[in-house]
């Protein structure tokens, strides 16, 4: 199929929900993903999601991935795995590498649901074997069933740092401590409490000074920091560990949107450079959509709703609006706003607001 109705780049929560929404209204999407398995980051999540029933509250992340993949198969939605998109050309061709062959697709509409990649922190020894990103630790443990090490120092107390710490404990790995530069714990307290109850210290206003070891991590030196983020002399502590896990944020993977010529804006609250988009996730280029972490670092549940909106947006773009479509759009937008309404949604709300104001009006 060289001219799909709707090419979805990325088979994670946003991409899969977009495919299902588009198919609900008669479009025939093609979903491509660079990995062997469908589901994006969902396949590594062992914790139960919360929210409302519509957002699959009470279901474990990897089960949501399995459900969505099963629904895709039930509807025979075309899917290419092991197929990365490698370029977006000025004439609208998307180059996809599949089985060592380059395919040039000319889709009628495209969704970039390419997610995000891990940030890094540099310190002496930060390149040693044993320093791993949080996603890497999750992949090793939850996909391959292999322990990353015996004892871990976790850097970052956002939701990922907290969740991965708990997953490490479930896998039988000792978490020596979680350190956080900010004065408060970054993630949901429900995650933090589980870990604290298990006796893991969560040290706010701390940083890592160095990783110790010749050929791999053998330990770390941490210290307190003051309100100017400077190490407090005399507060250094040596932590014995064989793994240092960095959970210090994510940055959207926006290359394909840059290549397509979409208007990009820098919004720190969303994680960096993101493509401007309207309320139906369409970028400044008609027919090109964006959804999920690539539009701003949030969670799987917001990714799923943004994906749904993008799918509905593609339907409106290709087929026009019907009463049924408008109803579904309003309902989805409402649920997304509801998810973002609490205190944890504040950063995303502010980020999205800032982004909305950035639209450069073209004559």
């Amino acid at each position: 199929m060289n001219t799909p109705d709707f090419l979805i780049i990325g088979g994670g929560p946003a991409g899969l929900m977009a495919a299902l929404a588009a198919s609900d209204f008669g479009l025939k999407p093609l979903v491509i993903d660079e990995n062997q398995k469908l589901g994006g980051q969902l396949i590594k999540q062992t914790h139960m999601f919360f929210g409302s029933k519509a957002e699959r509250a009470g279901t474990r992340g990897f089960d949501i991935g399995i459900e969505l993949a099963a629904e895709m198969e039930k509807r025979s939605i075309e899917l290419w795995t092991n197929s990365p998109a490698v370029g977006y050309y000025p004439d609208g061709t998307v180059a996809v590498l599949r089985n060592d062959k380059l395919h040039g697709l000319k889709p009628k509409s495209v969704l970039a649901a390419t997610g995000a990649s891990e940030n890094f922190v540099t310190f002496p020894g930060s390149d040693l074997p044993g320093v791993y990103g949080a996603g890497a630790v999750q992949t090793l443990m939850n996909v391959y069933g292999i322990r990353p090490g015996q004892s871990v120092l976790m850097i970052g107390s956002g939701n990922i740092g907290l969740i991965v710490s708990y997953q490490l404990m479930q896998a039988g790995v000792q978490v020596k401590a979680i350190i956080e530069g900010l004065p408060n714990i970054g993630g949901y307290l429900v995650h933090a409490s589980k870990i604290a109850r298990a006796g893991v210290p969560i040290l706010t206003r701390h940083t890592i000074l160095e990783a110790v070891g010749e050929d791999q991590v053998r330990g770390a030196v941490i210290s307190k920091i003051d309100d100017k983020w400077q190490p407090v002399p005399g507060s250094e502590q040596h932590i014995e560990c064989d793994t240092i896990c960095l959970a210090v944020g994510l940055t959207p993977l926006t290359e394909i949107l840059w290549q397509a010529g979409c208007q990009m804006n820098f919004v720190p609250e969303l994680g960096g450079q993101v493509a401007w988009h309207d309320e139906l996730m369409m970028t400044s280029i008609p027919g090109i959509f964006t959804a999920g972490d690539v539009t701003g670092i949030e969670e799987a549940s917001t990714a799923m709703l943004e994906g749904e909106l993008a799918g509905l947006g593609a339907v409106r773009y290709l087929k026009g609006e019907s009463k049924e479509l408008k109803c579904r759009i309003d309902d989805t937008a409402c649920r997304l706003a509801g998810l973002r309404a609490g205190p944890f949604g504040q950063k995303a709300r502010e980020g999205k607001c800032k982004l909305a104001e950035c639209r450069i009006k073209t004559v």
């Binding site: 990995n35 990649s117 074997p129 996603g135 890497a136 391959y144 292999i146 322990r147 050929d215």
Partner: protein, 103 residues
Amino acid sequence: MRIEKHPILDFDRGPKVTFYFEGRPVEGFTGETIAAALHAAGVKVLRHSVKLNRPRGFFCAIGKCSSCLMEVDGIPNVFSCITPVKEGMQVRHQQGRGRITLN
């Protein structure tokens, strides 16, 4: 290093596979990546860096950061963290930019 009992997950490991690291046989399972199987076998150093010869392992484990590059079946700069192990595969530690065998 492999998890035998997990409170939530069941690991459906495929059939065993024997591949070679620096000529030594290593056991892995079908579906595992080179980096994962080596990690389970206790091998954490996958290559040495170009300029300062520093030991490197994997970092992101999803083929984005280039930390895990190794020589596989004679081809250098292979992302060992996303390449599945195959029976008889020859994996070597990569030094710097790696070597290319020209025919």
